[in-house]
């Protein structure tokens, strides 16, 4: 359900209200359906930094082309709007149709910088979802993460339900199938969907693993459930040419970083073995 009517009067009280209205050229307003998996794709920093993120734009298009999935977008509200939302009892919302985050099935973050992790927790909380995955029930959001930082997801293992390793183009469809099937069956037990997600190659479900320590040192991280593989392999799309996304890059109404057409010409990195920022 849209919260636009409650939100709109608040936008006059905050800086840069254009961050929250959507309406970009290329934006979509997908039709939600009880049997389709609804993704709220999030960037845990401001709209200006998150909007140009190509990964989220690619996934947004791929999911919305599917019959069993819909996707909308959200970004971290600046502190002034957060204050307004909390004092008015309003939740995190999508910028596309201003739907409350709790009306989605999945809240999935692109993690490109480690210092945004506290924003992830804040947005999960603003979404009305318990921040620790152990405290969530079947009707709560599934919290997912993907992107550069997920090669070491352990510091946020307590807060996320699933982690995608590597390229998202193919795996996002497989996750959509799993969640749509679980939703159609009535979302009985949360552990069922977690187990099913752990069966998707490239998906790591931290709750199905235990971290063992001895004398202040990590000893091993091992599965505690037969559904979880001992080693989770990253996903790699073999042919970038098969994925010409985004097809309709979003053109924002307000100033953002990288405000231009972006075309990804290759993926992968071979040089600079010790690169500080490996791709």
């Amino acid at each position: 359900m849209t919260i636009w009517n409650q939100l709109e009067p608040l936008l006059g009280k905050v800086q840069k209200p254009a961050r929250y209205i959507g309406c970009e050229d290329g934006a979509q307003t997908p039709h939600h359906h009880p049997d389709s998996a609804a993704w709220l794709l999030a960037y845990p920093d401001t709209y200006e930094i998150g909007l140009p993120n190509q990964g989220l734009q690619i996934l947004n298009e791929i999911i919305n082309e599917r019959a069993d999935g819909v996707a909308e977008r959200t970004y971290a509200p600046w502190t002034d709007l957060e204050e307004q939302l909390r004092s008015h009892g309003l939740p995190l919302f999508s910028v596309d149709s201003h739907r409350a985050a709790g009306d989605f099935d999945i809240l999935a973050f692109n993690l490109s910088a480690e210092l945004t992790y506290t924003n992830v927790l804040n947005m999960v909380d603003l979404a009305g979802c318990p921040v620790r995955s152990a405290d969530r029930s079947a009707t709560d959001l599934l919290i997912g993460v993907g992107g550069h930082c997920t090669y070491n997801p352990e510091p946020i293992a307590d807060f996320v339900d699933f982690v995608v390793l590597g390229d998202g183009e193919e795996v996002v469809g497989e996750i959509t199938e799993v969640v749509a099937a679980w939703k159609s069956a009535g979302k009985a037990a949360r552990i069922d969907v977690l187990r099913a997600l752990a069966g998707v190659t490239g998906v790591y479900v931290p709750a199905l693993y235990d971290a063992l320590f001895d004398d202040g040192m990590l000893v091993a991280i091992t599965p505690n459930d037969p559904a979880a593989p001992e080693v989770v392999e990253k996903r790699t799309i073999a042919d970038l040419g098969a994925w010409p996304y985004p097809k309709n890059q979003l053109v924002p109404l307000t100033e953002v970083v990288h405000d231009r057409l972006n075309v990804e010409v290759f993926r992968g990195c071979t040089a600079a073995a010790g690169s500080a920022r490996p791709g």
């Binding site: 506290t118 990590l218 075309v263 040089a271 500080a276």
Partner: protein
């Protein structure tokens, strides 16, 4: 490194995406993105075609965003005619050849100066040089080598302009998972600060050279969560519960919150950030696979310490890192020959006549005003 193997988009598809995208969006600038775009083997042709496309009205600029523009051939820039002329960024990453060999950033001083000379001679006045400090085996000589490079760039610039400027941007090195430096103990905050001040003092009287640096306190926090394990969960939650949001923003970053949270959790920075890790200890990401053999990375780490550089494996024999073979795919490149002046330096005749406006921007987003 994590995103090996390399997969290129076919040049024809790039052309189509550029032409149709420009038409639909109305943008007059297109960025060809990836970590190091000049390594894209079809780059010359794509840039030439885009700039010469009459349907774009001859008003399109092309950006090549990259933190690693060593491969950038200013020859490519010769194809880009109508761009706005902002600054040009080069990323030597380290101040001495010895240090660049350790990080496998095999750009020679001659190559860098040739690229800088070409840029100044073709109209640019402002250069940005991107470096890291706190690299493995770094000595003060390496740190001060940054000043030497910057001064030489200014000297070259004076041959062409009255007041050329160089901005030296200095980041603190944070080791990342699934890289050869995943075992390296990050420099302490104090050590990074000392090196930054060493360079600042060295450059104090240099006109035209400006030094900008990343706050070592934030570098520590980034290191903490980059290679930490599940014990960091309560720390992150604690920082958040005490109001620590937008920690990427320098005006919001608060080290006190992180230190207090660590103390409450009974943890020490030292154990997660500064300590060198051993070959036999478990790493928090050992149960995940990015396709790279741990023993390859360990060997690379030892080689880095021995200052052995590896060449770009797309064009030279395979080093068996594991990234390709495990997935049943080879590096897919659009052209059978390496681009002129590929990863190993610019290596091309840079004296391309005329104006060469090009926009080179760091891929790390520039923070826009917070409101």
């Amino acid at each position: 490194m994590i995103t090996r193997p390399v997969r290129e988009r076919p040049a024809d598809q790039v052309r189509t995406m550029v032409a149709e995208g420009l038409k639909r969006t109305g943008y007059d600038e297109v960025a060809l993105t990836s970590l190091s775009t000049a390594d894209f083997s079809g780059i010359d042709q794509v840039v030439r075609d885009t700039v010469n496309d009459p349907s774009c009205g001859g008003q399109v600029s092309v950006s090549l965003p990259s933190l690693r523009v060593d491969a950038f051939t200013v020859g490519i820039a010769g194809e880009i005619q109508k761009a706005r002329r902002t600054g040009l960024t080069f990323a030597p990453e380290a101040g001495t050849w010895r240090m660049r060999q350790v990080i496998n950033k095999l750009i020679t001083e001659e190559d860098l100066y040739a690229a800088v000379r070409s840029a100044y001679s073709q109209g640019w006045r402002r250069m940005k040089l991107y470096f890291l400090t706190g690299l493995p085996t770094e000595t003060d000589e390496d740190t001060l080598g940054i000043a030497t490079l910057a001064r030489r760039c200014i000297e070259i610039g004076r041959e062409y302009h009255r007041s050329p400027s160089v901005t030296v941007s200095l980041g603190g090195f944070v080791p990342k998972p699934f890289t050869p430096f995943q075992w390296f103990g990050q420099n302490t905050r104090e050590e990074l600060q000392r090196k930054i001040y060493l360079l600042r003092d060295e450059l104090r009287r240099d006109h035209g050279i400006k030094l900008k640096w990343h706050d070592p306190k934030a570098t520590m926090a980034e290191g903490l969560v980059s290679r930490g394990d599940r014990r960091l969960g309560p720390v992150i939650e604690d920082v958040w519960r005490h109001g620590g949001t937008f920690q990427e923003w320098s005006e919001h970053f608060d080290l006190d919150l992180w230190e207090a949270a660590l103390e409450r959790a009974g943890l020490r920075e030292e154990d997660f950030v500064y300590r060198h890790r051993t070959e036999d200890e478990a790493l928090p990401w050992d149960h995940l696979s990015a396709g790279l053999h741990k023993d390859f990375l360990w060997q690379d780490w030892r080689d880095a310490l021995a200052e052995v550089g590896l060449e770009d494996c797309r064009w030279t024999p395979c080093y068996d890192c594991g990234a390709c073979t495990g997935y049943g795919i080879e590096h897919v490149v659009a052209s059978a020959v390496p681009p002129a002046g590929g990863s190993q330096g610019t290596g091309q005749d840079l004296a391309v006549g005329g104006e060469v406006p090009v926009v080179l921007l760091a891929s790390k987003p520039v923070r826009v005003g917070a409101g």
